[in-house]
Amino acid sequence: MRTTSGPTTWSREIIERRLGTIFKVLSILFFFVITAFPFYWMFNLSFRPFGDVLVNPLRMVPRLQDLSAVFAPLTCLGGSQSEACQTAIRNSSYAAVLVNFGFLTYIRNSVIISLLTVALTLLLAIPAAYAVTRLEFRGRDAMSWGILLIYMFPAIVLGIPLFVFFVRIQQAMGIRLRGNLYGVTIIYLASTLPVALYMLRSYFPTIPRDLEEAALIDGCTRLEVIWRVTIPLAIPAIASVALYTFMIAWNEFLYALLFLVETQPSWTLPLGLQQLDSQEVPRTFLMAGSVIITVPIIVIFFFFERFLVRGLTAGAVKG
């Protein structure tokens, strides 16, 4: 490092500070544009008729008449099947996607599969993570390492044998696991369980042991301690695990593609959206579908940002 006398250092300090401020402002603008604009553009395109997008691809804001066309089908909510209503639905990207392209069903499927995944993940991960952090047993370290290993394991590598397995189960026992939402939930656990175990495993040690031991001395059994002391104290971590698991299941695409694609009534939102990606479907419909799938996640995120950010970095940053 250069050791200079006072005045020159000061001037360098000032120059660097000024340049730094300019650079910082520009950088903030840059990041704001690259993160916010794509989502703004998604909304913009979703509200405009595809014909107009083709003619004026750079129009920044939808026209009023475009917006009223999008919302026009709302007047048909009473259940009118009239010709005018059918046309209104066809001309409104959102209504078309929801009604004509089956997104109402996909929303239902996605909600079911995501909630079920959350419930199953918590049910399995909380006791297992507790055992790994608090109880002594042979194979504890192996289990800890195993969790980490699964975390890293390629989903597509598991996909092939599971696919084969599902085909054969159906063949041999007549159990339809493929194309069955509930069957596929079990596979979703492959991507949520390791995350949940990992996050809980790093949170449980922060709960003071004394509290648990006091409850034990008071005559509680271990299970009661877990239920009455540990779980209530771990609620913040459990909440963030639940939110993460929900988001992973909601966003999950590969397993849905492998196991659900042949049965349209079981499609989830990501799969339904991907299947919309063809030349026959106006791109604006694709964007309306994207809005439908993205908005719930962004809403969840804004409500629970603190939980989520803490949960994500919990235990992973060590000094």
């Binding site: 083709l54 092939i160 991907q274 989520l308």
Partner: protein, 321 residues
Amino acid sequence: MAAQPGAIRRRAPSLKAREARLAYTLVTPTLIIVLLIVVFPMIWNVVLSLQPIRLENLPTINLLDFSDLSFNNYTRAITARGGRFWDVLRVTFVYTIGSTILALLMGLWAALLVREAFPGRNIFRGFLLFPYIAPVVSVAFIWKLMLDKNIGIVTLLGARVGLPPTSYLTTRTLPVRLFGLEIGLPLALITVILFEGWRYFPFAFLFFLARLQAVPEDLYEAAAVDGATPSQRLWYITLPQLRAVAGTLFLLRFIWTFNKFDDIFLLNGGAAGTEVIPIQIYNWLFARRNVGVSSAVAVIMALILGVLVFIYLRWFVVEED
């Protein structure tokens, strides 16, 4: 636990045994699920890779017939289509390393920005996380549309400032003249790398930010007293503090990008020189309907990954401790 009455000492092992039994009970359901959907498929995948199985024979073939095991699928995987495998491997490495480094650099840059307070910082931080939390399906389609040759806003605005008005996701090579030399830029590959950098920098950002906020303030004060300028403080104080996090992040992002199927599949299906190993596995399974070769490529991928992670942990992490 030195001087305990005999009664307690006699009870102690049984308590320990009871605790262990409880532990097994608590762990067993998870263990069964993991064995069923992770361990068992992992092992069976190896068996499948040694058998000649095609997709259409799947429902009828006897999968437990082990008389015909061979490495033919592996030979086929590596030599088929004029050794395309090596191209795919090379693309996978370029894609993985490029995206990982880009995501880390952008994450670091963003973290340095957000470290100091400014008006609207919390909202800004929220926006920064959007690309990471939004469903991959929708962000892939948004970018696909923004990069469309005819109606994509990025393409159209880019053309105004002199960028080529071409289809970024489906142009394999773009000839450019650089210092009088004609070189072919792998445009589609660069585009998917930029997408990955954009999508995953928030992950690196969060970890860098958490680490930055833990750097003791007096380090900076001492440096300022010693006359270190902002750039010197960044270079000599901040960055060294981030080395360990950067190492962890690199490993995590490398592994996850190496395995990544969704992003490229949704952006352009692996066209125009962006076919990576996970896409190739999928193509062997559904486009060429060959379960055996598909599993063989999957085993090769898992092995490569395992070896790389082992080397990394062995040579890079140990010396930091």
